[in-house]
């Protein structure tokens, strides 16, 4: 009985004295953040005597990292790219990865947990499984946003204004039932030179001398193509196909020539009458903030 107790206490003591641990830095992370995992194998057989240590990563309940067993590698023959870095001469090892890249999965597919273990090259020694909580990516509602978040100049794109989130100082815009966009683009011509193109508003003059060209307006009137649609609940959206709306390749003195690529669309929501309009009082404080969206090529 004495011997049994002695043996048990030795095993327990050993376990606590040389427990294998893993930590992650930063401790709170999303699937798109770069993290460094540190395996502390102090006192363990694994990693002693200069032995190399490899990571074996997985998403619990889903699948392993493609790096685990690509190109004929596997648990019995670790992939060299999974090799951890030893810290000095210690028995601590680190591995840096970004979960979405390392797992070749989206954040939604990875979900709430990332798991891994440390092992030697032929898999004869390994640690227990370690799991780390993965924070969800959070969507932050904003006054202005584009849908979709990435688009080309040939896609349907809707620019949204959420009046509920507008600053209180934009009182006229908050109260408006008719919302218009004020917009222009930066673009690159086929010869590599840059260009700028603006679309006329309610009252903008046809001024050819200022470097801009305001097509479509010959008299003072609403440019209904700039009117945003009421999506309800304070949400207004203005939908276009950029290449068509900004008339790329159309015949005209200042239209972007055929083959031009839009690099940025600037959208600025306002009330129907802008304070910039000559001969009108406009609505002071009616303008929304200007914002620009990069266009994917």
């Amino acid at each position: 009985m004495k011997k049994i107790l002695f043996l048990m206490s030795m095993v327990l003591a050993g376990s606590f004295a040389f427990a294998q641990t893993a930590s992650v830095s930063p401790s709170a992370f999303t699937a798109e953040d770069q993290i460094t995992i540190t395996f502390d194998l102090t006192g363990q057989s694994l990693g002693s005597g200069g032995e190399d240590v490899y990571i074996w990563g997985f998403v619990p309940g889903c699948c392993g990292s493609p790096l685990n067993d690509q190109n004929g590698f596997g648990f019995g023959n670790s992939n060299p790219v999974a090799k951890c870095t030893r810290i000095g001469t210690s028995q601590k090892f680190t591995y840096t990865l970004t979960p979405t890249t390392y797992m070749n999965k989206t954040a939604a597919q990875i979900g709430a947990q990332f798991g891994c273990l440390a092992k030697n090259q032929n898999g004869s020694k390994q640690t227990a499984d370690f799991t780390f909580a993965v924070d969800p990516l959070t969507f932050t509602p904003s006054v202005f946003r584009a849908f979709p978040s990435k688009f080309t100049q040939d896609d349907v794109v809707t620019f949204f204004l959420d009046k509920k989130l507008l600053d209180a100082s934009k009182s006229a815009l908050k109260a408006a039932t008719e919302i218009y966009a004020y917009t222009d683009i930066d673009y690159v011509k086929p010869d590599g030179s840059g260009g700028f193109f603006q679309v006329s508003q309610y009252c903008e003059p046809l001024d050819m001398g200022d470097g801009n060209y305001y097509p479509g307006q010959t008299t003072t009137a609403d440019n209904v193509a700039l009117k945003a649609k009421d999506f309800g609940n304070g949400l207004y959206g203005w939908t276009i196909i950029p290449s068509k709306f900004f008339r790329i390749g159309d015949v005209g003195p200042k239209f972007p020539p055929a083959g031009s690529r839009i690099t940025k669309i600037k959208v600025h929501f306002r009330t129907r009458l802008s304070p910039y309009c000559p001969f009108t009082t406009g609505d002071s404080g009616s303008l929304g903030d200007s914002f620009g969206f990069p266009v994917s090529q």
């Binding site: 989206t106 969507f139 849908f147 979709p148 978040s149 990435k150 896609d155 349907v156 994917s296």
Partner: protein, 173 residues
């Protein structure tokens, strides 16, 4: 006494196994087979078009910012398309009618053909000036009288990465 209990228990187990193993399992009917090629042929009316932000889907963002029904934003309610079999069932011609000039992303008429993308069947739509590859968003049976096509917009940086797609949902016209 022990022997009797053992014998009874064994008999019970054997009888139970016999009864259960002999029970006829009834499966529901397999039903009509699915043929994307056969189902495609005919006249179709566009019911809806849904734009999906794949980036928002990948990030697990709220449904509100993942997809948008753009059907009412353009004159999609007048769009129809006709696929005509070229003879072998896997190629032929197609023609859209689009009086409201709603954005379709593909040539309005031309030739269609099926091709295997190393996985699911895809559709090639070849017009005079452009050729596009289209996915089947859903596999319907002919009797469903529905057709769902998907147009993908993707980056090609080594591998194809879809960042936005459009689901065209048709019903037989």
């Amino acid at each position: 006494m022990k022997k009797i209990i053992t014998t009874c228990l064994t008999a019970f187990i054997v009888l139970t196994l016999f009864t259960v193993s002999c029970k006829k399992i009834s499966y529901s009917d397999v039903g009509e087979s699915i043929s994307l090629q056969k189902n495609l042929i005919g006249n179709w009316k566009l019911d809806s078009i849904i734009q999906v932000d794949q980036t928002a889907v990948d990030k697990g963002f709220p449904a509100l910012v993942q997809r948008l029904n753009i059907t009412p934003l353009f004159a999609y309610n007048t769009v129809t398309v006709k696929f005509t079999d070229g003879g072998n069932g896997s190629a032929g011609t197609y023609a859209f009618t689009n009086p409201g000039n709603a954005p379709l992303f593909v040539a309005t008429s031309g030739n269609f053909s099926f091709f295997d993308n190393g996985g699911s069947e895809r559709l090639k739509l070849a017009g005079t000036n452009r050729t596009d590859s289209i996915d089947f968003a859903k596999a319907y049976r002919a009797s469903d009288n529905k057709l769902a096509l998907r147009y993908n917009r993707a980056f090609f940086t080594g591998t194809k990465k879809v960042f936005v797609y459009y689901d065209f949902n048709f019903s037989r016209n």
